[in-house]
Amino acid sequence: MTEKAIEIKNLDYSYPDGTEALCNINLDVFEGEFIGIIGPNGAGKSTLLLHLNGIFRGNGNSHIRIFDLDINDKNLAHIRSKVGLVFQDPDNQLFMPTVFDDVAFGPINMSLPKDGVEASVNDALEEVDMVSSIRRPSHHLSFGEKKRVSIATVLSMKPQILALDEPSSNLDPKHRRNLINFLQTLKLTTIIVTHDLDLVVQTCSRVALIDKGKIVAAGNTLDILRNKSLLETHDLEMPNSFF
């Protein structure tokens, strides 16, 4: 059996205003696995992702482990270099003046030497095919390009786990196709939060369905995505590729 990359036990989380966003989440993700987290808007998917690198800590006796590390203040820096989190809105992910600065932000914080930083920036941009834009200001990129650079900003930290929040949202068919091709070549443990179920079918072997902060179903991708009534009770639609 492969190693557990992520172990989530009894995760509860309420926002400071009292919104109960997550309730008793239990989930294991294994090394090298592609897992899809699906669910309607407001289900708590993004909130769950923010727990994977300790931005949010669950309430009470919630417990999250990344490989052999518990998430606590001492391990935080280490965990953040292992878990690459890509936010949904690329304008939030890209906050530096130029593409280079943005992709270099993580490696610099990891205190890599200057040539190490430059090498990882180049590698990361190469992976998403954006090397030629390295000197451009982020605000001049197209939406699809921003999304790609967003992924590069965490790849440059050489993470072991990649967590993507709605990677295909607002992409045109061509960029979406490129994204899927890119994901299919990835060798990392990958968590994809989305309601693009076709994307899930093509990339993920396992799926967890979340609604109102609870995991309502988890298992093999095809078993869950073929279950029409389950999807419809949770405001989702069967992927087009099944028709």
């Binding site: 923010l50 690198n53 931005i55 820096a77 953040r80 270099s81 878990v83 690459g84 989190l85 936010f87 809105d89 304008d91 939030n92 992910q93 890209l94 906050f95 530096m96 003046p97 130029t98 600065d101 270099a104 932000f105 993580g106 610099i108 914080n109 990891m110 205190s111 200057k114 930083v117 200001p137 982020s138 605000h139 001049h140 900003t153 965490v154 930290m157």
Partner: protein, 256 residues
């Protein structure tokens, strides 16, 4: 949407554009110091400073109309501050005007100060415009960082540069959405809608701020900004600085 109004002409390829931004900042600083410490009566010196900056602008290939427009935008602010000085400075009276009991007089000393402020302000403004329009803002920020400006200051400027466009886009979209749905309506109604839009904009911007902070933390940010910069000073950079310094000194010595 594309915008470039901060460093609109920074993509031109010219001698001035290719200079190391640190050299430009230091030369600008020297220029401003020289101008400030020139005696108000050194009319020739001011003319020569003017010629110097004009030559630099020519070298930079930035359209003169743009420079003029930019510089004139700032002049009214200087005028607002300085315009009253001639009326209050005591000295030999150059002229007067009376409104009933109120008598206004203008003195030569006062006029001299006004001239002094205006000419110096204008020269400084022109030099700032030259720096900003001939340098990519991202490079300017890096240069400031390299010159040991406080990193908090630099990073706030860079966030401003990054997000001013995002916020503007957001507002434009809201405005378009509003215009698509409103036809007519009273003025009061429009004011209310506008107030609402500004409220929503603030909320969204606040949320964005939160998310950007999370995104920074996710990539190992712990309150300290670290930047690596890759500028290399070349021979021509030193030459430029030395030439500017010598010209300034020459003007200083022979122009007064």
């Amino acid at each position: 949407m594309k915008h470039a109004y901060i460093d609109e002409y920074s993509d031109i390829d010219s001698y001035i554009h290719r200079l190391d931004p640190r050299i430009k900042i230091i030369s600008l600083f020297a220029f401003i110091l020289f101008v400030i410490f020139t005696r108000p009566t050194s009319f020739i010196a001011f003319a020569l400073y003017g010629v110097l900056i004009a030559v630099l602008f020519l070298l930079s290939k930035i359209p003169p109309g743009f420079i003029l427009k930019r510089s004139l935008v700032i002049i009214p602010f200087v005028l607002m501050v300085a315009i009253f000085i001639p009326f209050f400075k005591k000295g030999e009276i150059a002229g007067g005007y009376s409104f009933g009991t109120l008598k206004l007089t203008v003195t030569y000393d006062g006029l001299m100060i006004l001239w002094n402020i205006l000419v110096k302000a204008y020269l400084c403004i022109l030099s700032m415009i030259l720096l900003i329009t001939s340098t990519k803002l991202s490079n300017l920020l890096k240069a400031l960082e390299k010159l040991k400006f406080p990193s908090v200051f630099v990073i706030i400027l860079s966030f401003m540069y990054r997000y001013i466009f995002v916020v503007q886009d957001e507002l434009m979209k809201m405005k378009q959405a509003k215009e698509a749905r409103t036809t007519g309506g009273s003025r009061w109604f429009h004011v209310k809608v506008l107030a609402n839009m500004i409220g929503v904009l603030f909320m969204r911007t606040y949320e964005r701020g939160e998310n950007v902070y999370f995104a920074m933390c996710s990539r190992g940010f712990n309150g300290k900004i670290k930047i690596i910069t890759g500028f290399e000073l070349k021979m021509k950079d030193f030459c430029f600085m030395l030439i500017i310094m010598s010209i300034l000194t020459v003007i200083r010595i022979f122009g007064s």
